[in-house]
Symmetry: C2
Subunit: 141 residues, 2 copies
DNA sequence: TCAATTTTAATAAATATTATCAAAAAATAA
DNA sequence: TTATTTTTTGATAATATTTATTAAAATTGA
């Protein structure tokens, strides 16, 4: 069980002039803990120790935090949109079998050659395939 | 006005054992013509010369054709899912100003080094930024 | 503590997608 | 061509998802 640094989460909100509320801290702490979450997973987890939080509050806060650059939105084929804490660029490996999402540290400078620096705002790179764990399971069958 | 090769579109459906219907041919011809379309754009265009086609028919056929590998689904931030005819790998440039989508022929072998060939099924690469046309308009202001 | 401002919860409203099913159309065989 | 089988369509009901509304509650800074 990871210890949550609430002071850090508060500072994220403060920097963007968003008020610190228990709801927002809880959403952020879950996303920090799980890495990549969609609205339903969030709602499910939140109901465990915060049963009275409204689904609308989650939707509203997620979109506010995306707009303010606190969260990064990741759209994935055949899955609901996932959210993660904004971080340095990294790609994602998505297992089409178990749906798990892995962060990938890939250097993409080789594909950005030839682009005007100023014209590129962000890059999304997703690699779909079978993860190691699923690969092993398949071999056993 | 592009001449549409219906025989070609029919062969696409035949290969997948999907029956050839005017509705399917019309959907395919629009996607071929426009390149990348979402459900609403399709419905709008279809109503022009096919006013009686049901929205449910469009949804159903799009998902059938995605399942059969005829269409490729492209999920884009802040936009509805776009569909295109399945083609060789290419990346997409998405203008965050005018929302236009451009095909990009980028060699991604440099980012797939280190991956087990067998474990990678597909790759999605999206580059968000300001397109040339919008760049020029900005400079005029 | 007080007051201004923002956020929340509940839920209504609006959008978006999928399911149902009888009628129509497509493919195939006779 | 016609009959038969199978698939698809259109209409619309049912679900699912997302956004809007608003009074009450919470946050924050003075
Ligand atoms: Mn990530
Ligand atoms: Mn394309
Ligand atoms: Zn897996
Ligand atoms: Zn543009």
């Amino acid at each position: 069980m990871e210890v949550i640094d609430y002071a850090y989460l508060e500072s994220i909100l403060n920097k963007k002039n968003l008020k610190v509320t228990p709801q927002r801290l809880h959403i952020l702490s879950l996303i920090k803990q799980f890495g990549h979450m969609d609205i339903d997973e969030l709602y499910l987890q939140i109901k465990k120790n915060y049963p009275y939080m409204s689904l609308a509050t989650i939707y509203k806060n997620i979109s506010v935090m995306v707009e303010n650059g606190i969260l990064n939105e990741i759209k994935i084929a055949q899955q609901k949109t996932k959210y993660e804490l904004l971080a340095d660029f990294h790609a994602h490996f998505i297992c089409t079998n178990c749906k798990k999402i892995e962060d990938l540290d890939i250097d993409i400078s080789c594909i950005l050659k030839g682009f005007d620096q100023a014209s590129v705002q962000s890059v999304q790179l997703q690699i779909y395939g079978i993860c190691n764990a699923c690969q092993k399971k398949k071999n056993l069958i």
